[in-house]
Amino acid sequence: MRGMSESRSIGLVIKKLDEFSSNRLMKLFLYASSLIFFFALVLLPPLIGIIENISYINTIIYEQSLLSRANSAILQSFIMAFLVSILDLVAALPLAWFIARSKSKVAHLIDTLVDIPFLMPTAALGYSILLFWSDKYGLSSLLGVKSLIPPGFFLVLLLHFVFSYPVIVRVMVGELLNYREIYEVAARTLGARPWTAVRTVTLPLLKPGIITSFLLSLARSLSETGATVMVAGSWENGPVFLFNLIEMSEAEVPSILKNGMLVYVSSFLIASSIAVFFLISLLAPTIRLPIRRVFPSLEGKMSSLKAVKLRDSFSLLILFLIVIIPSIFIAFPMFESILGGALGSAFSPFGPWKDYWRGMLISYGVSLLATLLNMVFGLPMAVIIARRKLGRVSTILKAIINIPIIVPSIALGVSLRLFWGKYASIPDFWTLLSSHITITYTYFVASMAAAIESVPQELEDVASTLGARPFSVFCRIIFPLTRYSMFSGAILVFTRALAETGAAKAVAKSREFWTLPVLLVNWIKDENVPITQKALGAGIYMVSSFIFLLALRLFFMKRKE
């Protein structure tokens, strides 16, 4: 009886919502609140924060040494991002090919393994790579050298290569699976060798996917802060420079100069990143690949079974040696710490572990809240974009919602700190939450918009002519068909928020509001913190993140069934 009355009351609520949804004013309110959320919380605060404080830049003009260090760091950001994206593309494309085209069971295994660096929190990933390549603990001890690749440019290159690699593989596998092989077959029946067919037909058709993956890799490299700080040593790019600047005391840099430098580097990074991305997005599609000339003999050799096996072996070697093994290397010191009995101290309510657990609570709390708010306010925005509810404005919105992922997160954090900082009554937690909302907003909206776009408009039209009101159409047609994308988008937002370091560091005014990644970066940079504590801290973070993601995935998969 109770169940029946409950279901009846749910039915009444749904009926009420259904009636509301057909009310024009309610629809307007829903869309307006979503637009207000985007502009007032996501897009404008960081932009206004920077613009309002642009006059601070005057203070740095005479600080030539710091200024040239800042300029060099900005330049290094772009050099690193371009270099990593090109290398990643060259290395990841053959592996994506192997995964998409190979019929062997190994390909399925590789397909799963390739996601490991993507699923790992970047702070843990950074520490793992540092230990593997640089620390006496890792490969260096095996080879009997002090530090095989010391912290600096090359180690950052390796780190960025590793965390962008799965992104490119994932995008390109998707593109290859969607690609209709019939074009390639047609080229081959016309006499083209496999390699020639791929070069002259497949690759030009995959160009949009190649550009997307290049841009994603560029964005990640330009934005990543926490792990980069761990492995950068004395080398600096934009985010590392900002991180180091925030760390500097009043004695090292007076606050007025510090603010000026923060505004200068952040505004430069924000403006140049947006400019570079829009330029690439506009110009890259016009670049023609060199497809006119054909080299039958050379391309015939490159299409041979031997050449293909060599290419696949090389791709797998890169995957394991440079990506997978260094990423999971952290497991060794972590288990060593556990076996050494360090786990007990980790649960001590005193000392450094107290800060650790508080950081974890803040991280999970902020990430969950950011995910929920982005879902609630991002969903109507995804509908506005996917169903072009505002005509041309929807197209513009589709472009500008990408800005938060283009902009380096620490620069975004600095501008948010400047924006919210002027309101004394705004609690610090809000600034922290707002930075996480801003950084992750695009992930949910873009993935949901794409999912809704993939549902034919006709299904909605037919449902509507059959008498279903807008809320019913959403609940009974759109939601069941996009549910998995919605949950995937939410998981993506949560994962990204949990791993965010740069913005979290920029907005945290005191240690009380350090998120777990920020705390870990500080531990790892601190030579006085024992390696067992660092490894255990990073390990617990990694394991908790895995467990949480696994639980969410199982929950949603169960729901999907």
Partner: protein, 370 residues
């Protein structure tokens, strides 16, 4: 049974005008076919009636009620898009029950009605299947069952047979009409297949570039096409260019290319008027050279091609004046009678000729369908 009335309706998509100042009334229980080439505005017209798109100008009435601002879910119409838009995540039964449930019926009642509709469309045994598990014909029947279960009295069909193979298309078009008539539905059926329209429609509307070219019964539209486009779009036709050479009490003489003279039964022409004459292919008779008996409207030529059309054979004749004509001859009369390269005569009865003023942009522009 509702009446649908469109008054001066215009619909634009950006700079493209899909429907131009269109007025049309569809009577209670009528089965109306909208016929037209791709991009003529057929689907837009259906969507306007369904309430999926709103007109920029003009009024739409259903049962004398202005429905311009009435949302689709309140119009009580059932819209079937070309590929049916069956909900892929719902079973056959759930698809059919979607409409009744959306209209507030209880689960039991929705189930009863849905099963009734599935029985009628002979799909009850597949109630628990998913749409992708059904054949093309079954999917079409499911879409119909879903539409009927919603209780709608207006059925809007967008190329309902377009996704089916030729055999099934022929079979189902009769059933479609029968079902609509039995359920007293006012039906608008969009198609680009003129044969299909001829068979199922009470009336046909020929649409081009968003404008109505002609409305009438299939016979009227076929036998008395109002303009060159309709004549060309519906049924096979031969067109000849010429001018009026003479007019007398009983008719006129049209001078075709190279002084070929064609007699027509229309005395209301002006001498010197530039015209296009049209003769249906089956009315363009082909005669053996030695059997020529008629004195007028007999034009010599050579057969240059033959095409087998099933019940007919079509002969292409290159006339001695440079024009070309097709003649459709019933198979029984044609077997072994004519061959390519044979000298023949094309004979046209004066009463079978339709005359149109020469179009300002020429014949080919006038009959263009893209």
């Amino acid at each position: 049974m509702p009446t649908i009335k469109l008054v001066n309706v215009t619909k634009k998509y950006g700079n493209i005008t899909a429907i131009k100042n269109l007025s049309l009334t569809i009577e209670d229980g009528e089965y109306l076919c909208i016929l037209g080439p791709t991009g003529s505005g057929k689907t837009t017209l259906l969507k306007l009636v369904a309430g999926i798109v709103k007109p920029d100008k003009g009024e739409i009435y259903i049962d004398d009620k202005l429905v311009n601002n009435m949302p689709a879910y309140e119009r009580n119409v059932a819209y079937l898009p070309q590929y049916y838009a069956l909900f892929p995540h719902l079973t056959v039964l759930e698809n059919v029950a979607f409409g009744p449930l959306s209209k507030g019926l209880s689960v039991e009642e929705a189930r009863r009605i849905s099963m009734q509709m599935l029985e009628m469309t002979r799909l009850a045994w597949r109630a628990n299947s998913f749409p992708h598990e059904l054949s093309g014909g079954m999917q079409q029947r499911l879409a119909l069952a879903r539409a009927l279960a919603s209780g709608a009295k207006i059925l809007l069909l967008d190329e309902p047979l377009g996704a089916l193979d030729a055999r099934l298309r022929v079979e189902l078009r009769y059933k479609l009409r029968k079902l609509a008539k039995e359920n007293n539905l006012t039906t608008i059926h969009v198609t680009h297949d003129q044969e299909e329209a001829m068979i199922v429609a009470d009336r046909i509307v020929v649409l081009r570039n968003g404008e109505i070219q002609q409305v009438g019964s299939p016979l009227e539209v076929y036998n008395d096409p109002k303009n060159i486009f309709v004549a060309h779009f519906i049924g096979g036709a031969n067109f000849f260019e010429g001018f009026v050479a003479d007019v007398d009490r009983y008719g006129s003489w049209i001078q075709l290319r190279n002084n070929f003279l064609l007699r027509i039964n229309d005395p209301n022409r002006s001498v010197g008027e530039r015209v296009i004459v049209m003769v249906r292919e089956e009315k363009s008779k082909i005669l053996k050279a030695k059997k020529k008996r008629e004195e007028i409207n007999v034009f010599p030529g050579t057969i240059v091609n033959t095409s087998f059309l099933g019940d007919f054979i079509s002969y292409t004749i290159s006339l001695d004046n440079g024009d070309k004509a097709n003649s459709k001859v019933p198979l029984a009369k044609a077997i072994g009678k004519f061959k390519v390269g044979e000298r023949v005569y094309l004979y046209i009865e004066p009463e079978d000729v339709k005359v149109y003023p020469y179009p300002p942009h020429g014949l080919y522009k006038e009959i263009e369908v893209i």
